[in-house]
Symmetry: C2
Subunit: 241 residues, 2 copies
């Protein structure tokens, strides 16, 4: 297979919008992907305040039926929800997929590990947060199933042990190179830290990988965005401290 491709000039890319929340764990996945691809400058962030339940309003549900963040909005109004889908789109733009794989095998393994990171770790932490803790507060969490939430907490901890065992034998989640799979596990680590779900002490490979990840420029850029704090919009006046 031969592929010839002109140089990709990101300055020709129309500005995109990302509907998200500055320190959300799922938004982090796309912000890190944007940073990895050098695309942060081509994006305008639109704040959707999770703590006031803005993502569950009819206006936002018209943008994303599932009521989740983030959502990518293209210059023509096309909407792409779901972190994996957004990352797949962004990664394909320059014809040089660095996060989702170039060969069939890389694509398969990266998509598998990304999904596994969601099911076994990130999504499980999310269910724990929304169902077995105060979550986003009583105005937003209109239904909770604590038994299910605690079960998912335990699943997430097992997930940490699983990824630890993997990372004992490979440098990155899906093999020898950084990928969307690492970003998904990072999403899990970010959410676990927010809900104060500790990584077991004996998960030394997971912790060493996590420390290495923090040195990547994309993670530094993401942290700087978080440290800049909540966007000052009218919406956010009542943001809980």
């Amino acid at each position: 297979m031969t592929i010839s491709m002109p140089q990709f000039d990101i300055s020709t890319l129309p500005v995109m919008k990302i509907h998200d929340w500055f320190d959300g764990p799922y938004p982090a996945r796309v912000r890190i992907a944007l940073a990895e691809k050098g695309l942060l400058s081509r994006v305008e962030f639109i704040s959707v305040n999770l703590w006031t339940g803005q993502h569950k309003t009819p206006d936002f549900l018209a943008i994303n039926y599932s009521g989740t963040l983030p959502v990518l909005e293209l210059h023509d109004g096309t909407l792409i929800a779901e972190c994996t889908a957004i990352t797949q789109y962004l990664d394909a733009l320059d014809g040089n997929p660095t996060l989702t794989g170039q060969t069939p095998l890389e694509k398969g393994l990266i998509h598998m590990m990304t999904k596994r990171a969601e099911i076994e770790f990130l999504d499980a932490v999310s269910v724990y947060f929304h169902h077995a803790t105060a979550g986003l507060g009583p105005q937003v969490e209109l239904y909770q199933n604590p038994e299910w939430g605690f079960r998912m907490r335990d699943k997430a901890v097992r997930g940490m042990r699983y990824f630890d065992s993997l990372l004992e034998h490979r440098p990155f989640v899906a093999g020898d190179a950084f990928s969307m799979g690492d970003i998904a596990v990072l999403g899990g680590m970010i959410f676990a830290a927010l809900v104060k779900l500790p990584v077991p002490d004996e998960c030394t490979a997971l912790q060493a990988w996590h420390a290495r990840m923090q040195e990547r420029p994309s993670l530094r850029e993401w942290r700087a965005m978080v440290e800049r704090g909540a966007p000052q919009t009218k919406e956010n006046i009542h943001l809980p401290s």
Copy 2:
């Protein structure tokens, strides 16, 4: 972007194994994808009996940590789990992705709709089955949360209405062409039929799409495989009738 590609000869492809169960809704997704790609003849199916909980045994968990079907095993022993990941792999093999999109936009939209079909429909039916019905029976369903199961049943029905509303305005789930997104919604329809969860009468666009899908050769091939019945292996002697 110019892509030149030699003709792909599937007869050169080493035989792959698929670990699955003949009439499972998730296995159906990959069997339909294989049929769409003309790859059924390159696959040997290994039966994993869901009804005896074979997918939850240590032997199978070593193949797929998540304990789910199907799993693709390549000739060198490489294992790829998760329907989306397997489909992505298979679709990339011939350099002519017909199920997962060719342009960045197609890729993004197809991955979004596939994930949405899982979250809002297929996975919700699955949780209903495993938590609020007898599921695979008391030997396999060691924990059930019926309240959560019924909630997911209601979510699945809302999901049917959502896909119905989409299909009023487009011929296929992710736009103008058949894709992995259609296969994911078909997975939901297959699971809903198994658990006798009816499609609301007023979902006429969803029903019309579903009827059109049955005419595709891939669906006929899948149905023929199901009608051949459960594989006759020692494992299956105690299969419930």
